[in-house]
Amino acid sequence: EYSKEKKVGEGTYAVVYLGTKRSSNRRIAIKEIKTSGFKDGLDMSAIREVKYLQEMQHVNVIELVDVFMAQNNLNLVLEFLPADLEMVIKDTSILFTQADIKSWLLMTLRGVHHCHRNFILHRDLKPNNLLLSPDGQLKIADFGLARNMGSPQEFLTSNVVTRWYRAPELLFGARHYTGAVDMWSVGVIFAELMLRIPYLPGKDDIDQIDVTFRALGTPTDKDWPEISTFSAYNKIQIYPPPSREELRRRFIAATENALDLMSGMLLMNPHKRLDPIQCLTSEYFLELPEPTVPSELP
């Protein structure tokens, strides 16, 4: 039923091919999961991709078309998505407008909302995991780090999310975090779309804390109760939060509502950070310009 025509990528636990679904002649991507050499059997990332993608059907989440075994390898058949947001941001020959940014952010938030209402945390949101379909739809992909929102007594690992997009509570080693960590990542992606360069590019985990607080101010117990209980907290530099004026200068093309939304997603205290519904219903999506229709996006 499926052909593998061209190898397009290789990761730690999978090789990705382009192919075709014969019965419908549909272009597809096949993620062939390597199985040899994993002493603990099937890799956790593969299990997570299968487990969570099977439960979700949403225009802004990558579609798992099929799963099959062949030559003792596990194959995930995914929809074919030729581009991602990182490519678009980096390619300076592509001009994009505030309306384009609004459209990509809207689709990202819809996808994240669908994950969260299914109580699924993605835990690795970043531009190159936001893929773009030929008709312009943005789709969240790579659920290799996803997991169910923890049961209350569970200890989650804090070593998740690619560093530049990692929320402060994770940088401090939190074990009982929520979907707020995904919202932080979306906030950083929003900033990057407006700046067209990475917003918080830390060199390593320690530097990441410093870069984050230098840009957004060091949180205190006042605005984030109990933050001082994190052991790493005592060793950090104290920076003042940026004034509104400074933010305006940094994001010159952003409207007041855009700055409010971005600041809401980048609130230090995860308790107060905006959730997907608050973002989707924010003033930013009600003011002009309207989000670009996906099929007209660059």
Binding site: M44, Q54, V67
Partner: protein, 280 residues
């Protein structure tokens, strides 16, 4: 829930489920008999006693015997998971995987004992309770190879669907909603005891076919009905606008619906009672 794979791939009518099991058994019985025929032809000089023994002993198990064997080992999984101190949801997922495995495979081709540890280990991975296969094998007093041997076959037999909605969370949800709907009328200490009893009953219910016929909330309400009928009926009346019309002729409690747009409470009650019967 209707989008979930649990609903789409793993809910059956009783008839359909019986059919699935007898089809699996028939397929493997045929295969077993063929193997037997080949064996006898390739061993022409068996003695009469041996032939008689084969005739009596080498008889394929019936669907009912398969079911008893599978349920026996499923129960063992629960108690074994308890000894290994695995979380309740992990144990429940292991039971779910184990029983589903034998909806497309027969005990005559995969000895339940061999699949036992694989489902437990795979459930740990699937429920984010990861432990290395070596340490698992040591705790389970088996070998890593034995644990991993059927992992692929298990994943394939599960139709690559791993998400389980167990009734435990629904129980917690009703525990909260009852406090809201019956606010001030429930004794919290007593509710705590009801909660604990229901949790234990849910683990038992996972061993029955109710999980294929009903949704997790329906199973939970059925168990609550068994645990404390008065509490459950009060909750139903207030929650689903049931008014108990005691004036009916045959003295049976009849329920009339006030707000037709809400859940059809009479229908729900019927379902819960039939679910209760299956579990019992």
């Amino acid at each position: 829930y209707r989008h979930s794979t649990q609903y789409r791939f793993w809910s059956f009518t009783p008839e359909r489920l019986a059919q699935i099991r007898s089809d699996v058994n028939a397929r493997v019985t045929t295969k077993t008999q063929l193997d037997m025929k080949v064996f006898l032809e390739s061993h022409p000089n068996l003695t009469q006693d041996e032939l008689a023994a084969i005739k009596v002993k080498a008889v394929p198990v019936s669907p009912h015997e398969e079911l008893l064997l599978v349920n026996y080992f499923a129960r063992m999984i629960l108690s074994f998971a308890g000894k290994m101190n695995l979380p309740t949801e992990v144990a429940a997922t292991a039971v779910s995987f184990f029983r589903k495995f034998f909806l497309s495979n027969s005990v005559m081709e995969f000895p339940p004992k061999e699949v036992f540890h694989t489902t437990l280990f795979f459930a740990c991975k699937s429920e984010n309770y990861f432990m290395g296969v070596e340490s698992f094998a040591k705790k389970a007093k088996t070998s890593a190879d034995a644990v991993l041997k059927h992992e692929f076959k298990l994943l394939e037999s599960l139709n690559f669907t791993l998400m389980n909605h167990h009734p435990y969370k629904a129980l917690h949800g009703f525990f909260l909603d009852i406090q809201n709907v019956l606010s001030g009328k429930v004794d919290m200490k007593y509710m705590g005891q009801v909660y604990t009893n229901c949790k234990k009953s849910i683990s038992d219910a996972l061993l029955t076919d109710a999980i294929y016929f009903y949704t997790p909330p329906q199973i939970t309400l059925a168990i609550l009905l068994t645990e404390d009928e008065a509490l459950m009926m009060r909750y139903m009346q207030l929650k689903f606008n049931l008014n108990v019309d005691t004036s009916s002729a045959n003295g049976q409690k009849e329920f009339k619906q006030e707000d037709p747009s809400a859940i059809n409470a009479e229908r729900l009650l019927e379902i819960i009672k039939s679910c209760q019967a299956v579990i019992e």
